[in-house]
């Protein structure tokens, strides 16, 4: 059948099973928008800024495990996608971005709204295409989706000149892709898997470290089986949170810079570290030479380049986490590790970083605890970046798989609101909460309009300390409390702001108001914004200063504490 380039893009999206995309039009991409009504199965959500389109596609992808799609025009539309693409790249999220480009005869002439989009996005996409022939569109679209979701997922950008979108040619969608340079290895090497099982059998103090790869490959059952069968405590990276139920007796939470002190110390004592679907990021390892100094390392990941990149690995296993764990579980012997588990419990008692201060003041940690309680730990939580993100990681008890969505690798403030929109569109069956800082919230708060317009009932919790809190904390610890450029003295009235968008706004200034406000938000059917005006100068503990090791960890000294469990 003969189609225009624009119709080909829609037809390809339809065949890839796309249900929804997030975008904002402009001249170069307009031919695509004009044919959209011919494809009623393709829902388009109009955002207020392309960064939000990218983050929403990302949030949708993380929440559903499907490929998220965003659309922007050439020039400023495409450059506005940059932060979102970099976020998806760092956190291995399958996103396809479609951008308009100036007509082919104008490329390279600094035409109006021309930018070298493939050039700009080259290092922040898994792959990208500039489509110079309409006939190439079906193959490119097919490849884009394939590359985005297979192996280690990531964002792929397709840049399409306007006249490629309007030209008509024969459309035939390829059945298969043939990419000689992209053939991910999914099955782990059997010999290596056996070797790993042997190391686990020999270990006295094993620790499993679970990362995003567990969630991406949907391996929570397999992870749980491994942990239970060999009785190995599980720590998770920030993106690995919710790959293992936090209420599980073997769950140790997150180690690292702002992780649970006992988790960090357990790694320090471990004689075997089993890394599953992660990349040993510096926020986890601290100074690499002092990381897990007593441990042999098994590393399972689908991306061979991650193995041996940051830490020395004794047993490398390249493959899909779920498949590898299935085989590994067959070889692993039942074990008890009673003594080690007792030692770990002791560490937990001596270094209890999952407790909070007993106080009548409104502290952020308390707010997170109550959110966790009142949602039953079953909401999808989308966070911004900063102190509130770390408190969410520490104090929200995630009960269901894949329920924390956060910008881990890039640490992009402003991610939360649009990503939550994407998550809520993808998972309308689950309540979606954002946990935001007053700083980050203001970077993308205009998306409240998108929420309201499209009936997307996200609940927004602003942990409002009138500071760029995490940076203020650094100034507190390392710059003699010199709070340069981190205080906000004229934040808007967030309740009125919510109301301006037609959204229910609630303000909480006192501890006793926390529970009723959260309850009210849960009962309300539409979006809600709660402004929690918390103690301004709370710090996140513990803290392993950047580039240091477990030995340099700063812990909070508490007289009165409240235990999580």
């Amino acid at each position: 059948m003969k189609l225009t380039g624009a119709q080909m893009v829609c037809e390809s999206l339809r065949r890839e099973g796309v249900e929804v995309m997030f975008g904002l039009p402009g001249g170069a991409i307009l031919p695509f928008y004009q044919v959209l009504p011919q494809y009623p199965q393709l829902r388009h959500i109009l955002v207020r800024h392309e960064q939000a389109a990218g983050h929403a596609a990302d949030g949708y992808a993380r929440a559903t495990g499907r490929v998220g799609v965003c659309v922007a025009t050439s020039g400023p539309g495409a450059t506005n996608l940059v932060t979102a693409l970099a976020t998806a790249m760092m956190d291995s999220v399958p996103v396809v971005a479609i951008t308009g480009q100036v007509p082919r005869n104008l490329i390279g002439r600094d035409a109006f709204q021309e930018t070298d989009t493939t050039g700009i996005t080259l290092p922040i996409t898994k792959h990208n295409y500039l489509v110079m022939e309409t006939a190439d569109l079906p193959r490119v679209m097919k490849e884009a989706f394939y590359v985005a979701r297979t192996g280690r997922p990531g964002p792929v950008l397709v840049d399409i000149p306007k006249d490629v979108l309007t030209e008509t040619t024969e459309f035939e969608y390829p059945e298969e892709v043939s990419l000689r340079g992209h053939r991910p290895v999914l099955e782990g090497h059997p010999q290596m898997i056996k070797k790993a099982a042997r190391l686990i059998a020999e270990a006295k103090r094993p620790v499993i470290m679970a990362g995003h790869g567990v969630i991406i490959s949907g391996a929570w059952e397999e992870l749980r089986e491994l942990a239970e069968k060999a009785q190995v405590p599980v720590v998770t990276t920030l993106l690995g949170i919710s790959s293992f139920p936090s209420s599980h007796i073997l769950s140790m939470g997150m180690p690292g810079m702002h992780g649970m002190a006992y988790a960090t110390l357990a790694i320090d004592r471990a004689d075997l570290l089993i890394g599953v679907g992660l990349r040993f990021d510096d926020r986890i390892t601290g100074r690499v030479s002092a990381f897990a100094p007593r441990a042999r390392v098994v590393h399972i990941d689908v991306d061979p380049a991650e193995i041996g990149k940051n830490v020395k690995v004794h047993v490398p296993i390249v493959g899909d986490v779920k498949r590898v764990l299935r085989v590994l579980n067959r070889h692993v012997e039942q074990a008890t590790h009673t003594e080690w588990l007792r030692e770990v419990e002791e560490l937990r008692r001596e270094h209890p970083s999952d407790t909070i201060r007993e106080t009548d003041k409104l502290i952020p940690q308390y707010v997170i605890r109550q959110l966790s309680e009142l949602t039953g730990g079953k909401a999808i939580v989308v966070t911004g970046v900063g102190q509130h993100q770390m408190w969410a990681a520490q104090h929200f008890a995630f009960k269901e798989a894949n329920t924390l969505i956060t910008s881990g690798g890039l640490g992009a403030m402003g991610f939360e609101t649009p990503a939550a929109i994407g998550a809520a569109v993808g998972r309308p069956d689950v309540p979606v909460w954002t946990i935001s800082g007053d700083g980050g919230f203001q970077m993308t708060m205009y998306e409240l309009a998108t929420m309201m317009e499209n009936d997307i009932p996200v609940k927004v919790a602003i942990i409002n300390n009138n500071f760029l809190g995490m940076v203020r904390q650094l100034q507190d610890f390392f710059y003699q409390k010199s709070y340069v450029a981190t205080g906000y003295t004229h934040n808007p009235d967030f309740v009125k702001l919510a109301e301006a968008y037609g959204i229910l706004g609630l303000r909480v200034t006192d501890k006793v108001q926390v529970v009723p406000a959260i309850q009210r938000a849960i009962e309300h059917s539409g979006p809600v914004v709660i402004d929690f005006m918390v103690e301004p100068e709370e710090n996140v503990y513990p803290m392993v200063p950047s580039g240091e090791s477990a030995a340099e960890m700063i812990e909070e000294k508490l007289e009165e504490r409240v235990w999580l469990r």
């Binding site: 080259l122 290092p123 000689r180 380049a305």
Partner: protein
């Protein structure tokens, strides 16, 4: 510290616009050093073969090969440093050659089995092919006469014997 050495890496890549940019960008972004790079068509029409010389310790160079692999348009990568290799490079050297020293230069050129490919009133262009050492020593001998311009292609390499530069032990990147 692990020993730092020159490694010879060959890669088969899709012959498509932008491939070189992707590779160069990856090297720059990750702080790897390419001391030489040569690209050209190969026996398969839609592919090019590249030869890199990368300086680094074994772990760094292993990362280089893996990161190359991750690029969708890179089909195969092999670190062939430890193999028995034929390595060649070509250089063009414009050297000052007034009549008084010309015969001396021609003698040197003969010893190295190099060629004189252009003759001007006071200079010659010499073409030489060989491994890096051979080219370096020729250049050293020519230096006293005055090298006005020099251009080297960078190393191309092939393993000796029947084996083709093909499979590798790293698997493919996701």
């Amino acid at each position: 510290m692990a020993p730092v050495a020159d490694h010879t890496i060959t890669a088969l890549v899709e012959d498509k616009p932008g491939v070189l940019t992707r590779i160069a960008s990856m090297f720059r972004r990750r702080g790897y050093n390419i001391s030489s790079l040569a690209v050209g068509h190969c026996e398969v029409p839609s592919l090019s073969r590249m030869t890199f010389v990368v300086r680094g310790d074994d772990a760094t160079v292993e990362q280089v090969t893996k990161q190359l692999y991750k690029l969708v348009e890179v089909v195969r990568v092999s670190d062939i440093s430890s193999e028995n290799l034929v390595c060649r490079e070509l250089a063009l050297v414009r050297v000052k050659a007034p009549a008084a020293v010309r015969s001396e230069i021609i003698q040197i050129v003969d010893i190295f089995r190099a060629n004189i490919v252009d003759v001007a009133p006071d200079s010659l262009i010499i073409e030489v092919t060989g491994d890096v050492d051979k080219i370096d020593s020729l250049c050293n001998l020519l230096k006293p006469f005055g090298i006005k311009e020099m251009m080297r292609t960078g190393r191309v390499a092939m393993t000796r014997g029947a084996a083709m530069v093909e499979e590798n032990g790293h698997g493919q990147a996701g």
